[in-house]
Each structure stands twice: as C-alpha cells, then as structure tokens.
Symmetry: C2
Subunit: 133 residues, 2 copies
C-alpha cells in the first residue's frame, strides 16, 4: 500500500485507484496528446485530424476522441449539413489542459538535440545492449 505525501489533495495520479490517473492517460497517451495538440490550433473535422496526427488509424482516432469527449475535454459538433459533417473542438477545460500539454511538447521538442546526444553517449557506453527505440 503506497502512502502518498499529498493525502490531503482530493485527487492524486500516484494512487492507482484515483480516476485522475485514467484522465492523465487520455491526455498524455500517444494519440490523445497529439489530438489535443492538433485541436489547440482550431476546430477540425475527423479526416483533417487524421491527417494532422500522422500515423493514427481511423479506429484509434475514433476511440481517442470518444475518451476525450467523455472527459469533457473535446466537444463534438454535428453540423446540420448534407452530407452531415462533424467538427471537433476543445472545450474551455480541454484548452486549459492542452496549454500545459503543449508547453511540455515544446519543451521536449526544444531539447531533442540534448536528448539525442544523451542517447549516443548511452549507446556508446553499452554497445552490447539493444536499447528500446
């Protein structure tokens, strides 16, 4: 049984039973993070999102959007057009979370030269191991 030092806080991602852990995973998951990042630039239709989030399958993007919509981070708007058209956009809550996420993404992108240099040093010191990608 882990005893977290912040037991006075109502939610704690370090506790496996806390629902905030699942939401953090929706936000930071491979496709969740890229979806929130893409929608931060403005509302997008499903196929626009699919192109922006390079490599996502239709099924995974659909699941990702459902989880984010259920958590109140993404709003799905079916336009009354013919053919019907569905737009996705961030809710105010989604915008707030996406801002923090984008600060993290930009931090990682901005320090990739250092990360790649660290990887080279690590691999040179351990030529016998086959590291994960």
């Amino acid at each position: 049984m882990a005893t977290a030092p912040e037991q006075d806080l109502p939610y704690d991602v370090f506790s496996r039973a806390c629902p905030s852990r699942a939401t953090l995973e929706h936000v930071t998951g491979r496709w969740g993070s890229l979806t929130l990042g893409a929608l931060y630039e403005g509302s997008l239709r499903f196929n626009e999102l699919r192109r922006r989030v390079d490599g996502v399958s239709e099924k995974m993007l659909s699941q990702t959007l459902h989880a984010l919509e259920r958590d109140g981070l993404v709003h799905r708007e079916a336009q009354p057009t013919n053919p019907p058209r569905v737009d996705y956009e961030l809710t105010p809550l989604g915008r707030e979370v996406a801002e923090r996420l984008l600060a993290l993404i930009r931090s990682v992108e901005g320090r990739m030269d250092d990360v790649l240099a660290a990887r080279r040093r690590y691999d040179e010191a351990r030529p016998e191991e086959s590291p994960s990608p």
Copy 2:
C-alpha cells in the same frame, strides 16, 4: 503524407518519423510520467520508487528507468556501499521536462471534479454504450 505547418522547426512530434515523438512517449507514458513526477521530489532508490509509483511492476519500472536514462532525463548513481545501492535522480534536463509535466498533472488533478461531471453527463446521454474506463 502529412504536411505539418511548422516545417521550419527541427523537431515535430506530429511527424511520426521524428525522434521527439518517442521521447514524448517516454515522458508521458503511464509509468514514465509518474516516475519523473516522483523523482522531481528528490532522488530515490529503486524500491522507494516502486512504492511511490503505485501499481508499477519491477520489470516495467526497470524498462521505464532505462528509457529515461538513455534520453538523458534520469541519472543512475551506483553507490560504492556494501550491499551496493543505486540511486536515481533527475538530470537538469529531466528537471526541466518534469516541471512542465507536473504543471500538466496538477492541472488534470485540479479539474477532476469537472472531468467526472462531464463523464456523468456523457454516460447519462448514452446509456446504451459501454464507455472505456
């Protein structure tokens, strides 16, 4: 082929070939994020980390630490004691990234009342579906 609007940036997580995407996943992965968050409070030994990151297996924590060490975010220090003892701590780069990550975690934890209310609304409007957790 996705054409990202920020092609002048050297690294872009939206591009599936960019190495920053793997690093973002190490940072935001289920165990990577909690490991970085735990180490932000100070250096920890393996078993201390395992208790703090509630629910992680020995194997997953070991893999997580290797990936973070290889990316230059975590430093592993073997103490010359008997029995030998290994401490893990954030590098300056790891601290920088962990700060952004913790801002995101606190944002999610701080808005969980809204997230749970959104989930209730979503599930009440779609009683026939069985949503993902």
